[in-house]
Each structure stands twice: as structure tokens, then as C-alpha cells.
Subunit: 589 residues, 2 copies
């Protein structure tokens, strides 16, 4: 009987194959076969797992050891990480290109920091989540950790630059690392890509804030993620509410993190946490419950401004004034309809000092969720699925982990951030050996979860059978193979910037060359022949592919079954003026 | 007295500032001042270091500890790593874009693998250099290491995919990690970027090999790295030579690595290593010396083919036939003049099985080096600088390191690679618990050192005063600030894909807005006014910058001192049809 790991590996391979085949428009019979094989493998895996469970815990964690005993190595990527193959990367590069293009459209400049930082830089920034930081081994030198996000390295950079940073808008795109329990199918990974945009410096109130909100709306509109909502709140309003309701000041942060769970837990559970775990007076909790159930637009702001208790609280008053100005600006940017002022949004990180926000899409939510919920300030917080009783299991490396029911997990928020005015000053103070924040560099930023976006977009690409390569021309030859002549033409076209390929065989048969070009779905097939070379022309066939009944079908241009005779000297110009070329350039991505 | 570290940090900051200022065309007086400050800091650093040395070794390694005692943190990036700021990243993104574009022009598809691998995947692949691998801390799970190159993760991926990999040409761009002694100014880092292109699969002889050589020539020609040479050799020819000269088979690899040092050491030193350290008969060494001194083009191949001893050796014969076919193909690609068939090129890694190559440029070599040396087969190996007696010192973390004289170090080869036909099979065999390579997936690849290329190109960019931002339009307003009107216009233009910015102040003075737009060297300044808004037009000024006597100077379009009145409804179209817009699009990068 094959081991679970072998089976898992084989399933992974077959899954990848299935997607590649589907994308390359293979015939349905072939697809069916791979599908059948996948089914069988999954059944075998189920049996193997059941057997392991029956063998008891002594057996778990032993596969790795068993492999080692046999001198075998496990061919896999580390837990919570994966490879991205050619078709997937084509989609990921597309997403990244759109995001970067929006970043520069908003005046951003790129920053790149190392993938690891000195451990002390990350220390004390992530609260309870610090346990998720990946540390490097001490190999005789510095104590290093993999970066957990882009925000802390940015703050370190800004603090190091002092006043010499010449660009207030900086963006970073790259991977960050968290030793969390992965849910791979939803883009929750241990290694994942984030695209950050931050605005630093002292500017007039709410202008950078509005820029960031408008930016994230622009990006999500350009990416095909479906309907989305930006949930927004303000730390100063939240803190004001807590004060008004009578939360003791030392409990404000811990009560705030209880509120943050309202998107996953019903109010009753959150109240229980506040009162039973955190010792809050139930009447205080009830007052908080009245406030945090509110969601809405600018009209909610009017309602809160009319609340005499809130208006009398300096923190809430400041927050409400900020929100009011922000809403004015967001109307100018024409994105106000995307906003949901959500009093239950609190966000985990301690360092936020002003507005906080999260972008959610219907496709990214757990089952039962609706984006853009109708505003009904009198309704109770929407019911959320009960937290599943989680089960701790040991994985193949003997590491204890929580078992996650993937069907109950959404992709989560696909972008999030907020204002953090104190973080850069914290670094400057710590570097000076001072306990008080030093020099103020106010900041606001957004992190976009590229893997979560990919998890939403990729299935649509597969369904649409999108091309996954940009190669425009496949150069072939009849008869003797004409390898040197093929190379010359290929080089000539590439020198003109045209993306060209050919079959790396000396004398391949013509149908084999056609098949290779068709696998890449190239729009132009150029065929060389000895006579044609002597007479100074080539044959060109224009071809395109369409999804018909879930299957890729090649369609030749009208009257182009035999191809067209094109003068060799005019070839590049001819190619560029064809309708096929223009169609590709227009609808390219 | 300031500590060395404080000084080093300050020098780094001032250096960055100097470059930013120079790029942004600051006035010479300001530049001079920063330069002067830099000089002072460097002198202070020298004094501080001398003092530390005088204090004896007890003092070294204590700065970190001292900082900790005071509760201070060191604001710096880890050893051998650095941040890249906006202007530098603009140049790096440009380099990356050219490289990726060439990769797709040659039919490549992107692959992405995790930044760390299971430790056993990297084990046994790098010989002596394995000590340079960064390991992650064991935090209760897998044993992980940061990737050392892209080749081993690629081979792991290909082995996992088995026969299901549908693309033979795969490229990867990303960072790799080596705990080596950094020479930062030459792009030798502990974290550095490599761009790899590999062709896998069974194809006809030397066709993929010619594709890779042509590819690297295309890339280096497109990047402004100056004259370059591709040094090339063949492992089978080298092995044949060793056999013909009488090297015992068990000594072939170790003698090969001695030969590999000929680009850094004179022949006498290499011979000494062969005979005294490695016990080779001096007469055998002399025979090798006769062979490896040869450098040349196709004529050298003829000379070697005429050597009866080599022709009689099966390994050498196979290698010479390969080279002969390769040269035929490289003539078809029209890149033969870039090649230098260099018998002393051996390359360190064990896994190469066929041709091996390195790209070098004049700018990347140590002092005294010349690219494209005249071919003179009778000459002795060119004299090379003597290896400096290196000194071990302790750094601030108490880590022992070699002191490097940066002025004597070149950037080194900027691209290198070779054929490795056995690596994928090694993984498949190891996974099956088999000691013999299993299944053959022949591969050939190239790694391009992006940091080394950046180290060559960046000073030229600074000198030319190249723009480091793409923002096209700066929107301003006279009088009351018109913040909402500015936002509306900015959003309108951005929605059309135009890169636009504005000053995040509510009522900024007009000169302040102009200064901000000029710092970004935007070609279009658009000025809003209340009357203009009512009447439906805007004022537009076209401006460009030129380097005059090492200083950036703003030049207004002819007759454009006052700007032009443009109809608001026609603005986007008007902008796109101006000469300024077209000049920017053409000469953009």
C-alpha cells in the first residue's frame, strides 16, 4: 500500500496536470481519464489515512523518519508553501502588473528591503502573533528573522533615512512569512505575497487617507475580483465609544480585540469573552453592543454626530470629524459607494492610530456571506457561522497543528491597513535608547493579499481557458528540417522584439512542429521550405483558439487553410499589420 | 566619540542622500556640502576604527552588547543585505523588465518556487560551499534552508512534476542567499537577485545550448553593460585533457577546481596547488598547463581537432564534436564573435556535464583586466593580480570574517551556467530510495547576476541624471487650493491610465506645488483656477529637464512660459498628442 505522502504528492501532480490539460484545451476524453485517476487517488488517500489513524498515534510523525531510514528524501515544498507553474505564474504576473501599474499611477515609488531583518527590529511589533515569526538559525553572527509584513521594514527604513527620504509614497511587492496553519486552497500560506503602498510624512488631514482608499478601489476594480466593499472604522471613534461606555482605560485594547472577532463570532460569544474572560461589567458590554452593531454610509456618521455622549468625548469627536472630512474627499474621488462604515471593525495590530479598513469581496467570504449588506442600523450583528471545535493533530514532521475544515473558511479580507503615526518614531526612539517616541513621521498604508486575489481569479482563468503564454510566432520547416535557416529566421524576428519559438529538433516532421506550436496557442505559424527560401518568401498561417463547450478549438483565419505567401523582407511589417496581431494586442490581457 | 557603527550608518545615509540629490538635480553647492560631510564622516570612521583596534580584541564585538545594555536597537539591515530606495529601484525594475522581456521573447514561461526548501533538498549539491547555506531555526517542524540558487529548486520541481511538465523553457527571477563575505559596492551580497533561464528535456544536440548562449548575448546587448565576452568550455573536453595528460581518475574533479582558479591566480600558483597540495606529478601538471593556456574562437577548435592524442580520447572527441556543432549554430544566431573558447574555464559546481560558460564585461573585471583579449594561443596565461594576503577580523557581531580590499575586487562574471544532465535524475533516485540516477531529464541553464549588472549600470544612470519616476502630470491650483477640484481632476486623469500626482495639502502656495512637481520632473503641470473651472478649461505647462554641466535644468517648451489654455473635455486627448508626451513615450527608458 502506498504511503499517504506518496499519494498526496501524486494527487498534487495529477491536479496540476489536470489544470494544465484543461488550460491547453486537451480533448475531453483525456481530461476524464485524469479526473478518474484523481478520484481513485483520493479514495486511496482516504484509506491510507484511516489506516494510519487506526495504527494509533505511534505511527504519526514516523513517515519522515521512515523515509530517512531508507535514505530517501521527500520531494516536496515546505509546509504552507508551494511552487507556481507556468500557467499560474502567467496569471500571477498579470495581477502583479496591474497592481504595480496602479501604484505608479498614484505617484508611488518602489522600495525593496531584505527578506530577513535583525530579530530586534521585529520584536514587540506583533503582540501575540510574534510566535508566528520564522527565525533563522544562529550560525555565528546576527540573530535574524524572516519579515512578517512590509510595514515594519518600511518603518525601519524611514527611521534610518531620517529626513532624507525624498518620496512620500512608497510601494513594496514581495513575499512575507508567518508560521500559521495554512489553508492552501484559499490562499492562506506560510509564504505569501503582499503588495503594500504607504504614504509617509506630515500632510493635511485625511488627504493621504483618501488617496489610499481611492487607490485600493482602483486596483480592485481593475482586477476581476467581483463586487467588493471597503469596511472602514476609526480607532479614535472606537476608543471614544469604549470610554463613553465605561471601559476602564487599561482594558481598552483587550476589549477592542474582542470586538474585532465580530466578523467571525455572534455577539453573544463576544459578550461572553468580554465579561467572563476579560471581566467587563455586563451592562458596559451591552452598551458597547449597541454601538458596534452599526454599519452604514455617511448617514451613520450623522447619526453618531448627533449622539451627545459621543460628541462630548474628545477622542470620538476627533474621529468623527476625521471621518466626515474623509467622506467629503471620497465623494470627490467617486468611491463613496464602495465604503461601509463598520463600527465593529477593530483590526488586530496595536500600532494603528487613525482610520482602519479592510476590503472584502463576496468570493472571499466564508459560506453564507453577502458583500454590501443592506444598511440596517437597527438590526443585530449578522449571524456568523459558529466556530468549529478544532482538533489538534500531528503532521508528518511531528508538528502539532489545528485541523481546518477548508469548506468553512473564506479567503478573508483581500486588502487591509490603516494609519500608524507612531511606528517610525518608536524605531528612532529605540535606536537612540530613548523610551519615548522621537520625531514624528505619520504614516498610512494598505497591504494587498496577492495570493488571496489569485485564489479568486485563477479558477475563472481556468474556466475561460485563457492563454498562458505570449509567444506570437512558431517557426517551422518542411522536409529536411532546415535547422540553420530556422535559427536565422527566429533570431531575425526576436531581434525585432517579436516573441518566437521553434522545435529544438534537427529534422522534425511538420505535424510534430504544428502540434508544438498549437500547444502554446501561437497565433502565427511560419513555414520555411527550400523553394520558398530561394524565392525569398515564407508561408504564414494565422490561427486562433476559442473555448467551445469547455474545450479549446483552433480556428484558422478565413480562407487561410493553406496559409499566405509573404515576402521575407516584408515579414515583420506584415505580421504587425494583420488583424490577428491587433486582436492579440488589444485583447491581450 | 561616535561609535563606528553610528558612523557607518550615518555614512550610508549620507551616501544615499548624495545619490538622491545628484539624481534630482540639486544645486552644486548643496551637493558639495553633502560630499564634504561624507568626507568628514569617513575620516571619523577611520579614527574610530583605529581606536577600536588599539583597544585590542577585547573591545571588538562589544558594540552590539553595549547597545543592548542601553536598551538600544541597531537600526540597520543584516550583514550583506541592503535596502534599495526609489531611484535605485527604478533602475533595477528597468533591468528586470528587459531581462524578463528577453526571456519571453525566447519562449520562456515563468516558474516560482519558495524562498526556502527542506534542508535535505539542498544537501550534497554544493560541495565545499554548503557551509554558506543559511539555515532556519528548528521551531518544531521541518528543517529548512534558504535557497542557494534557482537551479536546485528547479531540478526539485522538475523531478516532482515527472513527465507532466508541459513547458521546456522555464525562467525564474528572485533572490538567493549565501553566507559569504560581502563586497557590497561590487554587488556581492548575502541576499542577491538572480534571473535564471533553463531548458529541460530531450532535444537534439546543441540546439538548446545555442538558444541559451544566444539568449544571454541578447540580454547583455540590450542592457548597457559595455563590451562583453562569453567564455565557454566543455566538461568533456576538460576531462579528456586530464585523461590524456595522465591525471588519475580520482583526481580529475580536484584538479579541475585548481584549473578554475586561473582567472584569479597565475599559472605558477595553480601548478603549485596541483603538485604540492594535490600530489600531481609535475610533468602531468606541465602538460595540462600547455592545454589550458589556450583561448580563441573556432580556429582553436580546428587546432584541437588536429591533436591526435585528444581525438583518440572518447570524452574529448565527444566534447569537440559538440563544440563544432555549437559553433555552426552560433554562426546562424550571429553571436559567434562574442565567444571566447577558453580552455582554462572549469566552473566550480560538480553537476555540470557538458558545455559551461561565463559572461564577463570589462566593467566587471578587477583592475587591469581587458575584455575580448586578442587571441594568441602561444601566449602564456595572462598575468593576474596576486592574491592578497587576507586578514581575519571580527565584526560587530563577533563573527569572524576576511577583510576584503574592495579596490582589488571586480564585479566578477555577470552571468554563468552550463549543462547539467544528471541533477533531476538524482532527485528522482533519492526520492525512490535508489542510489542510481533515475529517469533522465537533461537540462541546461544560465543564471544572470542582477545585482552585479545593477552595480555596473547604476553609476551611469546617476551620471546621466536619468529620471527615476514615471509621473506624467502634476495637478495644482492657484488661490484657495481647490482641494476637491484637484482630487476630481486627478481621479479623472488616473481613470484614463495617466500617472498623476498632486500635493497633499489643502491650500498650498503655487510655488510650493511647482517645486513638488519639479522634484518628480513631471513633463506636464496642470493649473486649476476658479475662473478656469467655470469656463471649462485648464492651464497646462510643458516642461522637460536636461543635464547641463552635471546639473539638472528645467526647460519650458518654446513659447510656453505662461502655459497653454486647454479645453477640459479635450484634456486627455490633448496631452496624448503633444510632442512632450511622445518624446517621453519614445525615449522613456
Amino acid at each position: 500500500m502506498a504511503s499517504s505522502l506518496d499519494l498526496e504528492r501524486e494527487i498534487e501532480t495529477q491536479n496540476a496536470l489536470f489544470n494544465e490539460l484543461r488550460l491547453s484545451g486537451s480533448d475531453p476524453a483525456g481530461l476524464e481519464e485524469v479526473k478518474k485517476k484523481l478520484g481513485e487517488l483520493k479514495r486511496s488517500l482516504g484509506q491510507a489515512k484511516a489506516k494510519t489513524a487506526a495504527d494509533g498515534s505511534a505511527a504519526s510523525g514516523s513517515k519522515d523518519a521512515a523515509a530517512k531510514k531508507k535514505g530517501r528524501i521527500l520531494l516536496k515544498t515546505p509546509k504552507g508553501t508551494r511552487d507556481y507553474g507556468p500557467a499560474e505564474m502567467f496569471c500571477r504576473e498579470y495581477v502583479e502588473r496591474i497592481v504595480k501599474d496602479c501604484f505608479t499611477t498614484y505617484g508611488g515609488s518602489c522600495l525593496d528591503t531584505p527578506v530577513f531583518e535583525r530579530k530586534e527590529i521585529l520584536a514587540g511589533k506583533y503582540g501575540e502573533d510574534a510566535k508566528l515569526i520564522f527565525d533563522l538559525m544562529d550560525q555565528g553572527g546576527e540573530q535574524l528573522s524572516l519579515r512578517y509584513d512590509h510595514t515594519v521594514p518600511l518603518a525601519r527604513y524611514l527611521s534610518m533615512m531620517g529626513g532624507t527620504n525624498t518620496q512620500s509614497k512608497l510601494w513594496q511587492v514581495g513575499k512575507v512569512y508567518r508560521r500559521d496553519n495554512p489553508v492552501m486552497s484559499k490562499g492562506r500560506m506560510r509564504e505569501f505575497s503582499q503588495a503594500d503602498f504607504d504614504i509617509s510624512g506630515t500632510w493635511d488631514p485625511m488627504i493621504p487617507d483618501a488617496e489610499i482608499i481611492s487607490l485600493v478601489c482602483t486596483i480592485l476594480s481593475k482586477l476581476d475580483v467581483g463586487e467588493f466593499t471597503i469596511k472602514i472604522n476609526h480607532r479614535k471613534i472606537l476608543d471614544g465609544i469604549f470610554e463613553v461606555c465605561g471601559v476602564p482605560s487599561e482594558k481598552i485594547r483587550t476589549i477592542s480585540s474582542a470586538v474585532d472577532k465580530l466578523d467571525k463570532l455572534p455577539w453573544a460569544d463576544v459578550k461572553k469573552e468580554m465579561t467572563e474572560e476579560k471581566g467587563l461589567d455586563p451592562s458596559v458590554a451591552d452598551k458597547i453592543g449597541e454601538y458596534v452593531k452599526h454599519k452604514g454610509g455617511p448617514e451613520l456618521l450623522d447619526q453618531l454626530l448627533a449622539d451627545p455622549a459621543l460628541s462630548a468625548n474628545p477622542s470620538a469627536k476627533q474621529g468623527l470629524e476625521d471621518m466626515s472630512l474623509l467622506f467629503t474627499y471620497l465623494s470627490a474621488y467617486n468611491v463613496i459607494n464602495r465604503l461601509s462604515f463598520d463600527m465593529s471593525l477593530a483590526r488586530g495590530l496595536d500600532y494603528y492610530t487613525g482610520i482602519i479598513y479592510e476590503a472584502i469581496v463576496e468570493a472571499s467570504a466564508p459560506p453564507g456571506f453577502k458583500a454590501n449588506p443592506p444598511v440596517d442600523p437597527s438590526s443585530a450583528p449578522s449571524p456568523a457561522p459558529k466556530k468549529k471545535a478544532s482538533k489538534k493533530v500531528k503532521n508528518e514532521d511531528g508538528e502539532e497543528e489545528e485541523e481546518v475544515d477548508e469548506s468553512q473558511v473564506g479567503v478573508g479580507s483581500i486588502a487591509a491597513g490603516g494609519r500608524y503615526d507612531g511606528l517610525v518614531g518608536m524605531f528612532s526612539a529605540a535606536a537612540a535608547g530613548d523610551s519615548k517616541p522621537k520625531g514624528s513621521v505619520p504614516c498610512i498604508g494598505i497591504s494587498i493579499g496577492l495570493d488571496r486575489i489569485f485564489a479568486i481569479i485563477w479558477p475563472k482563468w481556468v474556466e475561460k481557458g485563457k492563454r498562458s503564454k505570449e509567444t506570437m510566432v512558431y517557426v517551422m520547416a518542411a522536409g529536411d528540417g532546415l535547422i540553420v535557416e530556422r535559427m536565422k529566421l527566429v533570431k531575425e524576428l526576436r531581434d525585432e522584439g517579436i516573441k518566437v519559438d521553434f522545435l529544438a529538433k534537427k529534422k522534425p516532421k511538420l505535424p510534430v512542429q504544428f502540434a508544438a506550436g498549437e500547444r502554446d496557442e501561437v497565433p502565427f505559424a511560419i513555414i520555411l521550405g527550400e523553394n520558398e527560401i530561394k524565392e525569398g518568401y515564407v508561408m504564414v498561417k494565422q490561427q486562433k483558439w476559442e473555448m467551445i463547450d469547455g474545450k479549446k478549438v483552433k480556428i484558422l483565419a478565413e480562407g487561410d487553410e493553406k496559409g499566405e505567401k509573404v515576402d521575407r523582407g516584408q515579414l515583420v511589417q506584415w505580421l504587425r499589420t494583420t488583424r490577428t496581431w491587433k486582436e492579440w494586442e488589444d485583447g491581450k490581457l
